[in-house]
């Protein structure tokens, strides 16, 4: 066992964990933040996407101990003071989700996407979402949501 400490959604957290604990396990099982999902075992579906020090990463492909001292944001930490993040609001407004399972990862990726590309074209959105798989929406309304959010975020 080893001790790991980090900031998650603005709160300092610390726990004794086995070194082979993945960041996503730490988030879901130790912190009981179950909005971060696991949809595959080959690091492709992106349902587990969170932000580590502001960058989107797949929490299933990072050890919790590698996040020592890091600032982690999960889907639960995106809304501020009860106010939805513009990306969350855009997904709802544009029907960018159906079953909702890929949605937290998709939103976290999309937030990072807009951070890097404040005014993304449709093509950029589609390319940059390569690391997130959705089986329900056909992506049409996801792309629409991201575009709308980027506009609302002042891109």
């Amino acid at each position: 066992m080893t001790t790991v400490s980090m900031t998650v959604n603005g709160k300092q957290v610390s726990a004794d964990i086995a070194p082979n604990t993945l960041l996503v396990q730490f988030i879901r099982e130790n912190l009981r933040l179950t909005g971060t999902h696991v949809g595959c075992d080959t690091s492709q579906c992106g349902a587990c996407t969170v932000h580590v020090d502001g960058d989107s990463v797949k929490a299933c492909t990072m050890l919790a101990v590698q996040a020592e001292g890091a600032d982690v944001t999960t889907i639960e930490g995106l809304a501020q003071n009860g106010e939805l993040h513009p990306m969350q609001a855009a997904f709802k407004e544009n029907h960018g989700l159906q079953c909702g399972f890929c949605t937290p990862g998709m939103i976290m990726s999309a937030v990072d996407l807009v951070k890097r590309n404040p005014n993304p074209s449709e093509e950029t959105i589609r390319t940059e979402l390569e690391g997130n798989i959705c089986r329900c929406t056909g992506y049409h309304n996801i792309v629409k949501s991201v575009k709308a959010a980027a506009e609302n975020m002042g891109g």
């Binding site: 082979n20 879901r28 933040l33 179950t34 909005g35 971060t36 999902h37 696991v38 949809g39 595959c40 075992d41 080959t42 492709q44 579906c45 349902a47 999960t74 889907i75 639960e76 995106l78 809304a79 939805l84 969350q88 997904f91 709802k92 407004e93 029907h95 989700l97 159906q98 079953c99 909702g100 399972f101 890929c102 949605t103 937290p104 939103i107 449709e122 093509e123 959105i125 589609r126 390319t127 979402l129 390569e130 997130n132 798989i133 959705c134 089986r135 329900c136 929406t137 056909g138 992506y139 049409h140 309304n141 996801i142 792309v143």
Partner: protein
């Protein structure tokens, strides 16, 4: 009077708030005090006899609670998994349904077949222990390909199914078809493979079983599209527990597409094991297990022939199909290539006679069952590839050929030669709209432009039909179904004016919490925020047949309407009493009850309150305001439409770029257009996946699954897909009170045929799905 957020409004979904904030409750998000973790040891072989299983070292491993095998379940009197639809072969014999134990007893028949269930304090410990189990296998030669499995001399997979045959079924008038072919001016032929798919809802299957020793109650939390059916089968056929002692809960479920209809070995084993060890047990599939064990879809090989007269009028259609059932017969597997397939082979066309025969057989592969569309995409693929081929053979424009042969809008009800009665539609309207949307007449110019840029352009059409709103119980019963396919609902008006709706339909992405609430808001004038839709729990909902076959609105929604009608009827009596009028004089409009010809009126809320506080109340009326209804549909519904795809192919790589997509669908009346469009997008995406990207591949020699992860099974990504242009037409369904037809599967049914027709149009020759870059490149370069 129109109602805010009522029928026809694109209401933003009520369920979204929890999903976009990470507060959904999917199965793996749940944990119970004292929970242990289950892990399945699975067969590494496609086909092997089990000589012995030695658990001793594994049982002694750290953290192990217990380990069970198939023999333990048999010893406990637990029955095998069943197939709920009996198919009768040509010769009158019932289909062969060999034993299907939750865990292998004497043999394993596909890679991933369950061998042992290891329960430990942690998942890692269970996995570690599973590696210590010693299984002595006598490995047999497997067969994975359906044609080879049905050929003489193939390895015999089940003793109970000689020649690996499940059934040899037929439908239609063979003699009439043969006669028509004998006199036909033209005959077109086609050979098709409908590729095997893995459904891949993003949430893997999972189960959490709990046992209460005091009451003897068992609770199974599971990823199910139909928890009541799961309970029924587990009680009646497996003997897990009587229905009154077994609660099945399906919480938020992350997509299904058919794959979560079925009663699987893992869920069954998990709930059984919870009682054995008297502790909660949780099992969650990883994606690799999903590829090995979630029922696959499609996997047909078909030869079809179309007979036509000199004018291009269709005379007869003849179809012969081999369908791969996999290693065992899954819950509804037998119905998919028969009554969900053969009955749709008339498509949108007036075809005087049709004959179809289907041989279904066993192979050493994952079981195959319903996947989005289930039988109907296969039928549309055969019909629409056939129509395109016939038009090409005749030198006719494929859309003109179709228009010439369509069932005309004045022909309903229209009885097909394959036992369906189409109730309404306007096929020429949808096709002409789709042609306008995509500028069909401008295609030649666009093709020339592509050619100038070194690209090959193609356009393809699919005019599909499906039978949804599954299904009239008596009709399906006569065809072999083991259950009725009605739906139930309870509408409960609470004393303070809010409404709770209990539905037997199950939402796993379809948005029922919104759509069903819109019906209530519309009919009873209740704000949509005050309507709660409850589903997925056998202890809350009276009963339910679940969600599949685009049935939720047409059947589940109709049950809600029936319950609402009872609420209105009772409310009229209360209103008449309170307003001192006769019941006949009470008029109802969106939750407002008024006395005809007066300004006296009461709201639904006031009446409901009076029903719960019956101080001044009709003497002959029960208090309370909750009504149950069971709705059994009168007929299937028949959504139909035309999708046209336009593609541009890069001849140097064979990459197919979808440059445009026009979809015009007739879903009858629409409750929430936004949700309906989303369903079309998702369906088309899965159809595009089938046509271009996806395909389950087994190594024929070893029977190993070669597409066992997202590294090798190609899931459609955002950059694989275009934007879709969608529109609807509306010929209301005459057989249900909402006039709705169902929209969940249309895209997946229409898309593969439209897209492949576009590719075939570009190439000038047939190729099979998936049209991978290499296949297309080879077709272009003739190698």
């Amino acid at each position: 009077m129109s109602v805010e957020n009522g029928i026809g409004a694109s209401v933003r979904r009520k369920e979204d708030q929890r999903f976009i904030t990470g507060n959904g409750h999917y199965l793996d998000d749940m944990n119970k005090v004292g929970q242990a973790y289950g892990y399945f040891l699975r067969s590494p072989h496609a086909f092997a006899k089990i000589k012995s299983i030695d658990l001793s070292a594994a049982k002694a491993a750290p953290g192990v609670v217990d380990i069970f095998t198939g023999a333990d379940m048999v010893a406990d009197g637990i029955g095998g998994l069943i197939c709920g639809w009996g198919i009768t072969s040509k010769d009158g014999s019932p289909h062969n349904a060999p034993p299907h134990n939750s865990m292998a007893v004497d043999a394993v028949r596909h890679v991933g077949d369950q061998v042992a269930f290891v329960i430990a304090e942690s998942l890692e410990q269970a996995k570690n222990a599973s590696e210590l189990i010693e299984v002595d296998y006598d490995v047999q030669t497997p067969v994975t390909n359906i044609a080879k499995a049905l050929a003489p001399g193939a390895p015999q997979i089940h003793e109970e199914a000689p020649g690996n045959l499940c059934y040899d079924w037929e439908l239609g008038d063979k003699a009439a078809v043969d006669a028509a072919f004998a006199n036909a001016a033209h005959v077109s032929k086609i050979d098709l493979v409908n590729n095997r798919l893995s459904p891949n809802p993003m949430e893997p299957r999972a189960a959490l079983g709990e046992y209460d020793m005091g009451s003897g109650d068992l609770t199974l939390y599971t990823t199910s599209q139909n928890p009541h059916v799961a309970r029924l089968i587990m009680s009646a056929f497996l003997g897990i527990a009587p229905e009154n002692k077994l609660r099945v809960v399906a919480p938020d479920v992350g997509g299904g597409f058919g794959s979560k209809i079925f009663v699987y070995a893992e869920e069954t084993t998990t709930i059984w094991a919870a009682r054995k060890i008297n502790r909660p047990v949780k099992w969650t599939a990883d994606r690799s297990e999903a590829f090995l064990t979630d029922a696959h879809g499609r996997d047909h090989v078909t030869h079809a022939e179309l007979a036509m007269d000199n004018d291009g009028k269709i005379l007869a259609f003849r179809v012969s199909t081999q369908a791969n059932m996999g290693a065992y017969l899954s819950t509804f597997a037998s119905a998919v290539p028969t009554y969900l397939y053969g009955t749709l082979l008339s498509g949108q066309y007036k075809i005087p006679s049709i004959y179809v025969e289907v041989q279904a057989g066993f192979t050493n592969t994952t079981p195959v069952d319903a996947y989005r569309g289930a039988g109907r995409p296969e039928a549309t693929y055969v019909v629409e590839r056939m129509m395109e081929t016939a038009a090409r053979d005749l030198g006719m424009d494929p859309t003109e050929f179709r228009l010439k042969n369509f069932i005309q809008p004045d022909a309903y009800p229209y009885e097909t030669p394959v036992i369906m009665t189409y109730d309404s539609g306007d096929y020429p309207l949808a096709m002409n709209m789709a042609k306008d949307m995509i500028d069909y007449s401008g295609f030649a110019a666009r093709k020339a432009q592509s050619e100038a840029n070194g690209k090959i352009r193609g356009i393809g059409t699919a005019a599909y039909i499906e039978a949804c709103g599954i299904a009239p119980s008596a009709a399906v019963g006569s065809l072999g179904a083991g259950v009725g396919l009605w739906e139930s609902a309870e509408v409960r008006f609470n004393p303070t004016g809010s409404v709770t709706v209990f539905t037997g339909s199950h939402s796993h992405g379809q948005g029922h919490e919104t759509t069903f609430a819109q019906i209530i808001a519309d009919k009873l004038g209740v704000p949509i925020e005050s309507v709660e839709v409850v589903h997925g729990d056998t202890s809350k909902v009276p009963f339910g047949m679940g969600t599949y076959g685009s049935r939720s609105l047409a059947v589940g929604g109709s049950a809600i309407v029936k319950a609402v009608d009872k609420i209105v009827e009772k409310s009229k009596k209360i209103a008449a009493h309170l307003m001192e009028a006769s019941v006949e004089d009470i008029e109802h409009d969106h939750g407002v009850f008024s006395v005809a010809g007066t300004d006296k009126q009461m709201t639904m809320g006031e009446i409901a309150f009076a029903a719960y506080v019956p101080h001044n109340y009709p003497a002959d009326l029960e208090p309370g305001m909750a009504e149950n209804a069971f709705y059994d549909p009168l007929n299937f519904t028949f959504p139909a439409g035309t999708h046209i795809a336009e593609v541009e192919i890069d001849p140097s790589t064979g990459i197919v770029d979808i440059v445009d997509w026009a979809a015009v669908d007739d879903f009858g009346n629409v409750i929430n257009p936004m949700i309906v469009e989303g369903q079309v997008h998702g369906g088309v995406a899965q159809g595009v996946g089938q046509a271009l990207l996806e395909g389950v591949i087994y190594d024929e020699e070893s029977g190993q699954l070669l597409t066992g992860s997202y590294m090798d099974y190609c899931m459609p990504r955002a950059d694989d897909l275009p934007n879709f242009r969608v529109a609807t037409t509306n010929t209301p369904c005459p057989s249900n009170p909402l006039g709705v037809k169902g929209c969940g599967e249309a895209g997946a049914i229409a898309a593969p045929a439209a897209l492949m027709n576009a590719i075939v149009n570009a190439l000038g020759k047939d190729i099979n799905m998936p049209a991978t870059p290499e296949k297309v490149w080879r077709a272009i370069n003739n190698n």
